[in-house]
Amino acid sequence: MAKSGQSLGARVRNTAFSALVYLFLYAPIAVIVLFSFNTSRRNIVFEGFTLDWYGVMAGNTQLMDSLVNTLIVASCSTLLSVIIGSLAAVGMYRYRFRGRAAIDALLYIPVVIPEVVLGIALLSVFSLANVPLGLLSMIIAHATFSIPFVVFTVRARLSGFDASTEEAAMDLGANRLQVFSRITVPLIAPGIGAGAMLAFTLSIDDIIISFFTTGATSMTFPLKVMEMVRSGVSPDVYALSTIIILVTFAVVVTSQAIRYRHQKGQEHTGT
């Protein structure tokens, strides 16, 4: 949005700069999408358009299995971290207890600690506790690094929260559980949603921690791709990547649209 007062030179400069930023961000993605339709196996030149790689991808059971594993791990770890993280955030917001500051500080450790260290730590805990390496261990591991993010997003939401709304609900006859489900949860839902999105994305593209905690039969998509890269990436991986990009794009657009409509509904004074 150029201001009317700006000179033509400044406008051209701004537009050019924005264009460069978007080129930088989206060129690699465009390349992947483009080469998923390439008839050539070698992705150096574009030789012709084909949908064959999508068929090859669907037939690649190993790749498909890894995708299913990734989705299972991401969904379960997201659910786990959202429940634990939200309750932790609410508890830490509401109650002042001994050691609260320490717990607060400890939350940042999993975020800043090198993933390799966390991966090794989790691996040794699992072997100590005799947890078999596989989907379960990976779910637990992913929840471990996702929980702090959920706590952060929910707490950000809580900081603008008027605690007297909870008291008002209780005053009107709602017991503690009803207050939580009807007042607290709806009000922090955007924070929970943002935390869930973060947890899900972090889980889907995690490699390092998954590498340490995966079992023989629980290969995830990123690990599978890593493995395939050694022998050169085949265009069916591009095809799957393109589908993932499309889905992501659709999710982002829908969520923005919902948010926009919601805001509009609350702003308008009509009806």
Partner: protein
């Protein structure tokens, strides 16, 4: 004076401490069914805390709270038959006006059709028909306030607790809402416990006012009695404007002669005052009168510093020989004292309230002052008939020093009524 069975809410010896901070001190308060009772006091005196203890959001440190004759210590807020209008409205932002108002009924599992009907009724009562589908963010402050009230009365509570409900509204809207609230209370017959720091609001709306001050209940009375017969210096100062004179009492028949630093004055003898007792005389600005001639029993002179026109009346600031400033108001159309001139000041003895003052600090300071010499000097200046020579510079140095320390001592809240002061000493020990 009232039977115990009439009290719908009763606080007995209620104390509240937050750690070292003693916020509510030995509060005894019986609220009658159907009355409009205001809890009035400056910010931080414990009004909200008192209300929250009745609602159940805070637990008292000691004492008993009875609602409808039953102790409520063990009852959760959602089990108490009282409802609250919060200072910040506390509307549910994710619910429409309808859903906000219906919340209390939903919690009681009321049938849908009945909910619809009763919400409409409540909204009509606060003149918000047609706003059902709006969200709180789409309402003005006054409208939010109405929703909060409708939401709180939907369950037909016996008692409605209101915490400075009009505090955030502008003056004009506040005046209008005061009338509406009062009308609503009469119509519903619900007991209102109304917290405010606005004395005018309390005076216009209440059946009775409980004046609080640093956690202590100073006075519980009808508005006119609170205004005309303040029980403590704090009440006299806080409610309306008062001129307060420190002095020594000398009961003489139906009157009491009080010797103040600025001269002798009269007050009505309501009994219980001793010869030489340290007292305070409180006179409302509209009761203070002036003349060029001295009046029987009065020996008080003041020079007009300034006349201020305040709408329907004129406020005159007068400087006494002691250096104290007093305020006198005259209705416009009445005679107004001339700026710069000196007048004799007086009042009807029955218009002055004399308060016991048990402050040790004042007592000891005053006891050291040679009052005979001081009053002789004041007499002399009155004889000379000139305000200038009778000014503060003519007063003995010792009296000037005493006035400074007496003023600082009387500024402490220890100059409260006898039971309050006694309690305070207990609390200190």
């Amino acid at each position: 004076m009232l039977m115990a069975s009439q009290a719908i809410v009763e606080l007995k010896n209620v104390d509240k401490r937050y750690g070292e901070n003693h916020v509510v001190k030995d509060l005894n308060l019986a609220i009658n069914e159907g009355e409009f009772l205001s809890i009035l006091g400056p910010s931080g005196c414990g009004k909200t805390t008192t209300l929250r203890m009745i609602a159940g959001f805070e637990q008292q440190s000691s004492g008993t709270i009875l609602v409808e004759g039953e102790p409520v210590e063990d009852k959760e807020p959602f089990e108490r038959n009282v409802n609250t209008v919060f200072q910040s409205y506390a509307l549910f932002p994710h619910m429409t006006v309808f859903e906000n108002v219906a919340f209390g009924l939903k919690m009681k599992r009321t049938a849908r059709a009945e909910i619809r009907e009763r919400v409409q009724e409540a909204l009509a009562l606060v003149q918000l028909e047609g706003f059902e589908k709006r969200y709180p963010s789409q309402l003005s402050g006054g409208q939010k306030q109405r929703v909060a009230i409708a939401r709180a009365i939907i369950n037909q509570p016996k008692v409605l607790l209101l915490d400075e409900p009009l505090g955030a509204l502008d003056l004009k809207l506040r005046k209008q809402m005061q009338l509406e609230l009062k009308r609503l209370q009469k119509r519903l017959g619900i007991t209102f416990v109304y917290v405010t720091h606005d004395q005018e609001e309390a005076l216009t709306m209440s059946d009775r006012i409980a004046v609080m001050h640093e956690g202590i209940l100073d006075q519980l009375d009808a508005p006119s009695r609170i205004y005309d017969f303040p029980a403590t210096r704090f009440v006299a100062d806080f409610i309306g404007e008062s001129n307060i004179f420190d002095g020594l009492a000398s009961p003489q028949g139906k009157n009491i002669v009080v010797t103040t630093e600025a001269g002798r004055v009269l007050g009505q003898n309501s009994g219980g005052f001793e010869e030489g007792e340290q007292v305070q005389v409180s006179v409302r600005p509209e009761k203070l009168r002036f003349d060029s001639e001295a009046r029987e029993g009065f020996d008080l002179e003041g020079t007009v510093r300034e006349n201020i026109f305040v709408g329907t009346f004129i406020k005159s600031i007068l400087l006494l020989s002691s250096g104290q400033e007093v305020v006198l108001t005259s209705l416009s159309g009445q005679a107004v004292p001339e700026e710069g001139r000196s007048y004799h000041l007086f009042w009807e003895p029955s218009d002055a309230v004399i308060l016991h003052s048990r402050s040790q600090e004042i007592w000891s300071t005053i006891a050291n002052v040679d009052l005979s010499g001081f009053s002789a000097e004041a007499d002399a200046s009155a004889d000379a008939g000139s305000a200038e020579t009778g000014g503060a510079n003519a007063a003995p140095a010792s009296a000037g020093a005493a006035s400074a320390s007496a003023a600082s001592a009387s500024a402490t809240p220890a100059a409260a009524s006898a039971p309050a002061a006694a309690h305070r000493q207990k609390a200190r020990a």
